[in-house]
């Protein structure tokens, strides 16, 4: 493992944990707990993103309960899509970041709905479950309520995450950006 990746991984996992906590304290219907995973996937490539996602989920499981380890594939999916977006210059401006974020949100929302429905009966994080309960009370079946709630919250969450990530990448000093060829390509430099 390179020293740069060794220094980045703890920081990225900490970003996942702490920014997720900030969003939760603001009581927003978004998680923002995958920013670190997508950041490393964009800076260092897919393998770094996969490592951050797995480790982050393990540590977050230790602090919130191992049950949430079931959502580790979502972290892998985000790492893969963020690396793909970076390779295609997906963070060059805000609208491109938002489009890639929304696409990532659809993929993650569908996957997370399947995990949530089959393993947890639709009861997972409080925000998304509350949205699901609203749809359920409106007459949706459990599967439809869970899928709609997951899709809506994930699209919003990943779009905001990718927009923030794009702004961050475009603000990085050239001396740092120059060390990460994939990130430079992501912002079109």
């Amino acid at each position: 493992m390179s020293p740069r990746l060794l220094a980045l991984i703890p920081t990225a996992v900490a970003i996942n944990l702490v920014v997720g906590q900030v969003a939760s304290e603001l009581a927003l219907p978004v998680y923002l707990d995958t920013l670190g995973t997508s950041l490393v996937a964009v800076l260092d490539g897919l393998s770094g993103g996969l490592l951050v996602g797995t480790l982050g989920q393990l540590l977050s499981g230790m602090l919130r309960g191992y049950v949430w380890l079931a959502f580790t594939p979502i972290q892998w999916l985000i790492a893969a899509l963020a690396a793909l977006a970076a390779a295609r210059g997906g963070f060059g401006n805000t609208s491109r970041s938002a489009a890639w974020g929304a696409a990532c949100g659809v993929a993650c929302g569908l996957t997370s709905a399947a995990i949530s429905y089959f393993l947890f009966g639709g009861v997972t994080a409080t925000g998304v479950t509350a949205v699901g309960a609203l749809f359920r009370s409106a007459g949706f079946s459990l599967a439809a309520a869970v899928t709609t709630a997951s899709l809506l919250t994930d699209i919003l969450d990943k779009t905001i995450s990718f927009i923030l990530l794009g702004i961050l990448l475009r603000s990085l000093p050239l001396r740092i950006l120059g060390r990460f060829p994939l990130a430079a390509r992501a912002v079109g430099r």
């Binding site: 493992m1 060794l6 920014v19 927003l28 480790l55 919130r64 309960g65 191992y66």
Partner: protein, 243 residues
């Protein structure tokens, strides 16, 4: 006084917590999951992890309420169980009870382990076992980084408030606060990681070869017996469910 869990070899509480989580998944509900939750609470209290039990209840409480609403109140017919004048779905309530107990056992086991976990003892134990140093370092460095970043997030929020940031009651004002709270934190973290990479390289952290543990925790026979017993517990739960 140091708790039993903190005095044990670092791999022992980790193995017990993982074994309890696996047993909670495998044990037949609701009797099996209830038994696992009771065993988890007893082990936690006996080893000085009562705080983890209280934290577990606090973490699980919202899920129990949501499980009751989603499956008990909004569950499928027939509705034969009446609680406080509300007719609840019988199958939904039964599923909510199973899932609630399983969640409680797994969350409590995780939190009791987290409250007794000492990252630096874990690093020494990993070195003594000859584990890959970079992987063990990443676990410890991440826990340190999370604490540091959490403090920075609190300081940053206070600083932004003095500059006029409002995290008001409306969703829009909260959403507007996100960039001001998150962006500086991430930028600062990336810059720090860049500096730290240089420090790690000059300190030879990426060199391969065996390391010498300074003060490795003792792995006593009782630790080994407990770890094997934990694995047997998982096998027994599997046999109870599928045997």
């Amino acid at each position: 006084m140091t708790s039993l869990a903190r005095r044990a070899h670092p791999f022992t509480p980790a193995t017990v917590a993982l074994a309890l989580a696996a047993t909670a998944i495998l044990a037949p509900p609701p009797a099996g999951t209830l038994l696992v939750y009771i065993v988890t609470v007893v082990i936690a209290v006996a080893t000085g992890g009562a705080r983890g039990v209280a934290l577990g209840i606090a973490v699980c409480a919202p899920f129990w309420i949501l499980l009751l609403i989603m499956h008990g109140v909004m569950g499928d017919e027939p509705r034969t169980t009446v609680v406080l004048g509300v007719a609840l779905s019988t199958t939904g309530l039964s599923w909510a009870l199973e899932q609630g107990l399983r969640l409680a056992a797994i969350v409590t086991a995780s939190l009791v382990f987290a409250t007794s976990f000492d990252p630096h003892r874990f690093l020494q134990a990993a070195i003594a076992r000859g584990w890959r140093f970079d992987m063990a370092f990443v676990v410890v460095a991440t826990l340190d980084a999370a604490d540091r970043l959490r403090e920075q997030a609190v300081r940053l929020r206070e600083a932004q408030r003095t500059r006029g940031l409002r995290t008001g009651r409306t969703m829009l004002s909260k959403a507007r606060a996100i960039p001001a709270l998150v962006f500086p934190l991430m930028l600062m973290s990336v810059m720090e990681a860049d500096d730290r990479a240089l420090a790690l390289e000059t300190r030879g952290l990426t060199l391969v070869g065996p390391r010498t543990p300074i003060d490795p925790p003792r792995d006593r026979s009782v630790d080994r017996v407990i770890r094997w017993a934990a694995l047997l517990l998982v096998a027994a739960a599997g046999w109870w469910r599928f045997g």
